[in-house]
């Protein structure tokens, strides 16, 4: 059973929302999860309607059944200082390095180093055990970089290999890689039922597989209900136009005769229905492509009022029903 859930997806697909919903879902019934953010956007804080997260694990939500979601915004600079302190007891020397710009330099200019610090911190949380010998967190959910960068981000070993062939950074990368490539980890991709995100999801999964990283599930977000299909729309437009106008009129929307209020609604409503049917058709193709990927598919409905805290809990409940326990 995986304990580190890495959630990625094309920009605009709602990966932060899905990561948060998953953290809530996995925390249900007295479990404890850690939701981590690695891109410094404070998306989690906005979603949970709380103040900006510091570099500190803190409880941000209670899940149904007494579970807890904790959150952490991993900042590469702090992660490096943390790392220096943990492994080298470099408290003050670390601060001196920071003053000189060395920390900034190391974490920003060399992407491999930055990523190994970010993933390293998440892996540390996965492995951390309390005094009772049990894991501190039942699972860790990471709001990760977008699909286009995810394989590179996770494949720290490869990135760092060229930079540090031996030494402590090299060892750290090896340790992180062992966790990331193990069944403890699952990389989930969030997509919409649109061509570009679906294409990117397929490419992303191929890349993950090529690099031996464990692809988890595909989560289709913002699914809209299919109300009318193409054939129904065509029948309404051709055979039953007058009858539809009459029905609209019966429902109290004005006259059904030519030029009546209800009659004048028919064309614009049919136009919308045609667009809808076209979209339903495109979505069908996209969904078929996603099922060819051979991964579990989960679906989350579109919340028409946008995402607020209540919506997030609804998505979490929905995800929980679908998630294999």
């Amino acid at each position: 059973m995986s304990r580190l859930h890495v959630v990625s997806g094309k920009g605009g697909t709602g990966k932060t929302t899905v990561a948060a919903a998953l953290a809530l879902a996995l925390a249900a019934d007295g479990k404890r999860t850690l939701l981590v953010e690695v891109e410094g956007r404070q998306g989690i804080a906005q979603l949970f309607e709380t103040e900006a997260l510091p570099y500190e694990e803190r409880k941000i939500a209670t899940a149904p059944g007494g579970g807890e979601v904790h959150a952490l915004a991993i900042d590469p600079e702090y992660a490096l200082l943390d790392y220096l302190h943990m492994f080298y007891k470099l408290g003050s020397a670390g601060r001196a390095l920071k003053k000189l710009g060395a920390i900034d330099f190391a974490t920003t200019i060399a992407p491999g180093l930055r990523d190994v610090l970010l993933t390293g911190k998440a892996c540390e949380a996965v492995r951390r055990k309390g005094k009772d010998g049990k894991f501190v967190y039942d699972s860790v959910v990471m709001d990760a970089p977008p699909t286009g960068r995810i394989t590179r981000f996770l494949n720290v070993n490869h990135e760092v290999a060229g930079l540090a062939r031996t030494g402590p950074i090299h060892n750290q990368a090896q340790a992180v890689m062992r966790v990331l490539k193990s069944p403890q980890t699952a990389v989930h991709l969030v997509t919409l039922l649109e061509e570009m995100p679906v294409q990117e999801t397929a490419d992303g999964i191929a890349e993950l597989r090529a690099d031996g990283l464990p692809a988890g599930a595909v989560i289709i977000n913002m699914v809209r209900p299919a109300i009318l299909d193409h054939d129904a729309v065509e029948i309404a437009a051709n055979g039953q136009r007058a009858a539809v106008a009459k029905a609209l009129s019966q429902a109290g929307l004005g006259g059904a005769r030519r030029g009546g209020l209800a009659e004048r609604l028919v064309d614009p409503l049919l136009e919308q229905a045609r667009e809808h049917a076209e979209r339903v058709g495109l979505e069908r193709t996209q969904r078929a492509e996603l099922s060819d990927l051979g991964l579990p598919l989960h679906e989350l409905e579109l919340l028409t009022d946008g995402i607020d805290l209540a919506g997030l809990y609804r998505l979490a409940a929905d995800l929980r029903k679908q998630w294999p326990s």
């Binding site: 330099f105 540090a164 019966q250 929307l253 679908q322």
Partner: protein, 460 residues
């Protein structure tokens, strides 16, 4: 309700103006930046200008629609665009690493260039540094502008983590390579490696000692060699970064902030607008993509739903007696529990039968009940098998209600932006039902960018 009305962004006037030489499309990820850049390129070329579009990371089919499938840094002419009016469209995809390599080759002597290109630290930096893409996009823009072969350069920006990256990257990269730390690191290499350490003051040697311990000796040596080799280019970096920055501020440049009518995207857009203002960058306006409209805005979501309800009830009451359809199940409510597939989403094959048929969704009552969109019962959908006029009309009304809710939400987020930045001209681009991946699609988007969207005043 909308109180402020934003001025219309006159896209054609902007594209036609010979003084406009650079258009920069910026915005958060997933809002259609690249598509907007490509559509503007097609439109400008068909209006007679000689245009080059610089894309950063286009989706494959979008790139193919412009005939670029190679990431080779060379602008290629797009066939069949602008021929009638003497315009031309060229398109290219940025190859970040190659741009960096070319920069090194142009600014260092051959021997030094070879040393830099072979350095592992350089290879990591050039391929993936968080700011490299932004920096190289701007470097390429500077190069294209210097060639002066095009009337108009349209540039897409990288999908940055935040608005800051794109404007800050040139300065940041410059300041890193120019900074205190790299100078300290370089010191031993300059005076001949470890043998020279004794000439350094104690503080610095302690520092390099620490770095050595943490990073490992080989990495430190690579960084030192890299820094030493790059030394001659530091000035080059800074000068170029400053020149690009000034080019962006110049009157011939126009920034377009691209967004979708969603809360996060517009928040990011507002931030872009403020940031461009603070940096005195010339903002032309906001492009709001994927805006929904309706030809029946006079009918509110609430009335449409109420009417749909009436029709469904009438339909259900009539059905057993009059309908030729023998099926007894006719309630217009989804029954998620009845669908065995709903609880087994781990099976990737299960979605297929349910694809076409979602259930009727009453958004009002739907909020209080658990509903799985993938599990809608096919029986309740008005497909071709079941097409009483009442059902069809109810379906049309529910679709309309959904559309009006989307409209309302988009209008509210848009209003919030307008309240904050009433001075920013806006072009609203009506949503297309499908994706854009050919020239015809790009033309359609261009048309929508240029012609104000019809949005009649809503009654009640």
């Amino acid at each position: 309700m909308s109180m402020d009305v934003a001025p219309w962004l006159e896209t054609d006037a902007l594209l036609d103006n010979p003084q406009t030489r650079i258009v920069v499309c910026c915005g958060s990820g997933g809002v259609g930046k690249t598509t907007t850049a490509a559509a503007l390129g097609v439109r400008a070329a068909e209006r007679g200008r000689k245009v080059v579009v610089l894309t950063i990371d286009p989706a494959r089919r979008l790139a193919q629609s412009m005939g670029i499938d190679a990431l080779d840094n060379i602008p290629r002419k797009v066939a069949g665009v602008g021929d009638e009016n003497g315009g031309e469209l060229h398109a290219m995809m940025l190859d970040m690493k190659r741009t960096f390599d070319e920069f090194v080759e142009a600014h260092a002597d051959p021997e030094r260039a070879r040393a830099i290109l072979a350095n592992p630290f350089y290879q990591s930096l050039s391929a993936g540094f968080a700011g490299t893409q932004e920096y190289m996009a701007m470097e390429k823009l500077g190069q294209l502008r210097a060639r002066d072969e095009w009337d108009l350069i349209i540039v897409d920006t990288p999908p940055s983590r935040s608005a800051l990256d794109f404007l800050d990257a040139p300065k940041r990269l410059g300041s890193f390579l120019d900074g205190k730390f790299i100078r300290v690191l370089m010191a031993p290499a300059k005076v001949g490696g470890r043998a020279g350490m004794k000439f350094l003051n104690v503080g610095v040697s302690m520092m390099t000692g620490t770095v050595n311990k943490v990073l490992g000796g080989q990495l430190l040596r690579d960084v030192q060699t890299f820094a030493a080799a790059m030394d001659t280019m530091f000035g080059g970096f800074r000068t170029r970064a400053e020149a690009t920055y000034r080019l962006l501020q110049a009157p011939g440049t126009a920034f377009l902030v691209v967004a979708a009518p969603e809360r996060d995207a517009l928040r990011e857009a507002a931030y872009f607008v403020e940031r461009l203002g603070a940096d005195r960058m010339p903002l032309a306006g906001l492009v709001l993509n994927r805006v929904h409209g309706s030809g029946a805005e006079q009918l509110s979501a609430e009335r449409a739903l109420a009417a749909a309800e009436i029709l469904s009830m009438a339909d259900a009451a009539m059905d057993p007696a009059t309908a030729p359809d023998p099926e007894p199940e006719t309630e217009a409510e989804p029954e998620a529990e009845l669908d065995p597939d709903a609880s087994d989403p781990a099976d990737p094959g299960d979605g297929e039968e349910n694809l076409a048929d979602g259930g009727f969704v009453d958004r009002d009552s739907g909020k209080t009940q658990a509903r799985n969109p993938s599990a809608a019962d096919p029986d309740v959908s008005p497909t071709s098998a079941d097409t009483s006029a009442e059902r069809l009309a109810a379906g049309l009304l529910r679709l309309h209600a959904e559309r009006m809710q989307v409209l309302g939400r988009e209008q509210r987020t848009h209003d919030r932006f307008t309240a904050l930045h009433p001075e920013v001209p806006v072009a609203q681009v009506a949503a297309l039902p499908g994706d854009v991946h050919d020239l015809a699609g790009l033309r359609a988007i261009g048309e929508r960018l240029a012609v104000p969207m019809e949005r009649p005043q809503r009654a009640g």
